[in-house]
């Protein structure tokens, strides 16, 4: 019996030769990360054990991206803990405000997470990097503290569900729409504790940014990891980021699932039938075609986050907003995920387009996605957001509402002041 890509990567990080779903393993970690919310607990736990040294100062990233630039005094104190720990242990990959970006956009961009790697992060959207063909998953702060000390993490080897996407995407349909649609089909626990392997001609035709969006939201279906077999698109992306940023660890390995690998389930979709999607409150699984969202007036639009704050996301938003204006009374908030994306958006004129459309163009931050800052919703307010969760009170008041969508739908909705299909405005 063959192995899936997930099983192969896990097997390469343990001493045992064989591996089966359900096995408990202690695996070697190639890279780990924490942010200004999760790392402070990990740092406290690390100190409590009396540990003197981290396992490898080149394999840890500390990224203050959630409540930064510090939104209040307590947040400033938490961010300071990261800086001090990084200084004390000479952690190479600490990113201060000004170099910082939303972690799951920043690490791939810098070439710090690579195909075939095993990555853990104290953040649930760590599953994003599976788009590169690595095993990557979210863990807790205590897990991160253990990884700091030992460079290892415990796992239960997951079964894999294969998601096969046939056909060609319609205009205005993106990776975000595919993942919202998929979660709509299987539910928020449809892949509970399982690996989600995304494949098929429609996936192979997608650029990296869309693939990151898809793997990013595997957690919203309960998945342990999302993963896409690396191909030419992956390799040319990885080679380009390595050339540009010259990370110390350059080696990577391409894994593919065996033909006779075992899957818990196989789901097949014809993407040519999928419309742009909107996930209604209060679960990502409440996905509907955008045409079903009639007369839903909005107060705010957020374009950004680890799901959709990349350059192609800003590009499509700018294309729709160019020469148009956000409707009076709608707050349009655009947050590039990293400083490199920010600069690129300035260079290509997107920033100007956003400001001329009546929007704000912010410094990178997770900000409003989790109701932190930079766009909190008041009681009764509604936002369309390119983020990943629309739980009760996620972006502010418990009686506010978040509708999840792609950057194209978000931009069109800003112009109309209600949820809108991009073809209505372009």
């Amino acid at each position: 019996m063959g192995y899936t890509i997930t099983e192969k990567i896990l097997r390469a990080h343990i001493t045992k030769k064989s591996i089966n779903p359900g096995d408990f393993i202690n695996a070697k970690v190639d890279f780990c990360l924490g942010n200004d919310i999760t790392a402070p607990i990990a740092i406290n736990e690390f100190r409590k054990t009396g540990a003197k040294k981290v396992f490898d100062k080149t394999r840890i990233a500390l990224i203050p991206d959630h409540f930064t630039p510090a939104k209040d005094l307590r947040s400033a104190n938490q961010a300071k803990m990261l800086y001090e720990f990084a200084k004390e242990h000479k952690i190479e990959h600490y990113y201060e405000v000004g170099r910082m970006g939303v972690e799951h956009a920043l690490l791939p961009e810098l070439g710090l997470v690579l195909p075939g790697n095993l990555v853990v992060g104290a953040d649930s959207h760590t599953c994003t990097y599976g788009a590169l063909g690595c095993f990557s998953t979210g863990v807790g702060s205590t897990d991160l503290a253990a990884a700091f000390i030992k460079g290892e993490c415990w796992f239960k080897v997951p079964e894999t569900i294969k998601f096969v996407y046939h056909g060609k995407l319609k205009k205005w349909v993106s990776g975000k729409d595919l993942i919202l649609y998929t979660i709509g089909q299987i539910g928020v626990d449809g892949a509970l504790h399982k690996a989600m392997e995304f494949t098929g001609e429609a996936i192979r035709a997608l650029p990296m940014d869309d693939r990151f969006s898809i793997c990013n939201m595997a957690i919203e279906a309960g998945g342990k990891n999302g993963i896409i077999e690396p191909d030419k698109t992956t390799v040319s992306y990885v080679n380009a980021v390595i050339r540009k940023n010259k990370p110390k660890r350059k080696g990577f390995k391409l894994y593919k699932s065996d033909k006779d690998a075992n899957y818990a389930d196989v789901k097949e979709f014809d993407v040519s039938k999928i419309e742009p999607q909107v996930s209604f409150p209060h679960l990502p699984s409440n996905a509907k075609p955008v045409t079903k969202a009639r007369n839903i007036n909005i107060d705010q639009v957020v374009i950004g986050s680890c799901t959709n704050g990349r350059i192609s996301d800003l590009e499509i938003a700018a294309k729709i907003l160019k020469g148009r204006k956000a409707k009076h009374g709608v707050r349009l908030i655009i947050i590039p995920a990293t400083q490199a994306i920010y600069l690129e958006a300035v260079k290509r004129g997107f920033a100007k387009t956003f400001v001329e459309a009546g929007g704000v163009f912010s410094t990178p931050s997770c900000g409003p996605c989790l109701g932190g800052h930079l766009g909190i919703l008041a009681e009764g307010e509604r936002s369309v957001a390119t983020t990943n969760r629309n739980f009760v009170g996620r972006m502010g008041h418990p009686k506010s509402e978040v509708y999840l969508a792609s950057p194209a739908v978000a931009a069109a909705s800003a112009i109309r002041g209600r949820i809108a299909h991009p073809k209505e405005v372009v």
Binding site: I37, I41, R74, T142, K156, G371, G393
Partner: protein, 160 residues
């Protein structure tokens, strides 16, 4: 371990923003986090909890973010144990890692009602509904997880 307390029931997909909204994540203090526990799902939850009480919920409890503040808030407000039909994976491992007992039992989670007095014996794998004189089997912890719990949490378990 044995726990006994009054049941507080919740539905499916109770997420970590329900357990502890992100606006409180600028502290790590269990007592302070505990004051806001389950605020989005039940505004008065933290006030009505008595030490040792038990949360009983449906499917996918703890879905959403990786914030360890969620099990810390539950422990911090005095809840002794969570029974659910199923648990989201990061919440489940976080609870194990910090020593909050989490017990999966579909049968018990469906049958126990708000206010019932419940007793959980994690070693024997038994949940008793004392109010209704009913008994349910729990899914036993896998031996690997049992070892972490016996050592008193993950960091104690990895110490040489």
């Amino acid at each position: 371990m044995k726990y006994k307390g009054k049941a507080h029931t919740f539905g499916d997909n109770i997420n970590t923003d329900d357990v502890i909204p992100a606006k409180y994540l600028n502290t790590q203090d269990p007592i302070e986090l505990g004051k806001h526990c389950m605020e989005h799902a039940d505004k008065n939850f933290a006030k009505k909890i008595e030490r040792g009480d038990i949360i009983v919920a449906g499917k996918n409890f703890g879905c959403g973010s990786s914030r360890e503040h969620a099990p810390i808030a539950i422990k911090g407000c005095g809840v002794s144990c969570v029974i659910a039909e199923t648990f989201a994976r990061i919440f489940y491992r976080n609870a194990i890692n910090i020593g909050l007992s989490v017990v999966a039992s579909s049968e018990a989670a469906k049958a126990i009602k708000e206010g019932n007095t419940v007793e959980v014996d994690t070693h024997k794998g038994v949940i008793k509904n004392i109010s209704k004189k009913k008994e349910y089997k729990t899914e036993a912890y896998p031996p690997f997880v049992e070892k972490i719990i016996k050592k008193g949490g993950l960091l104690n378990a990895i110490k040489r």
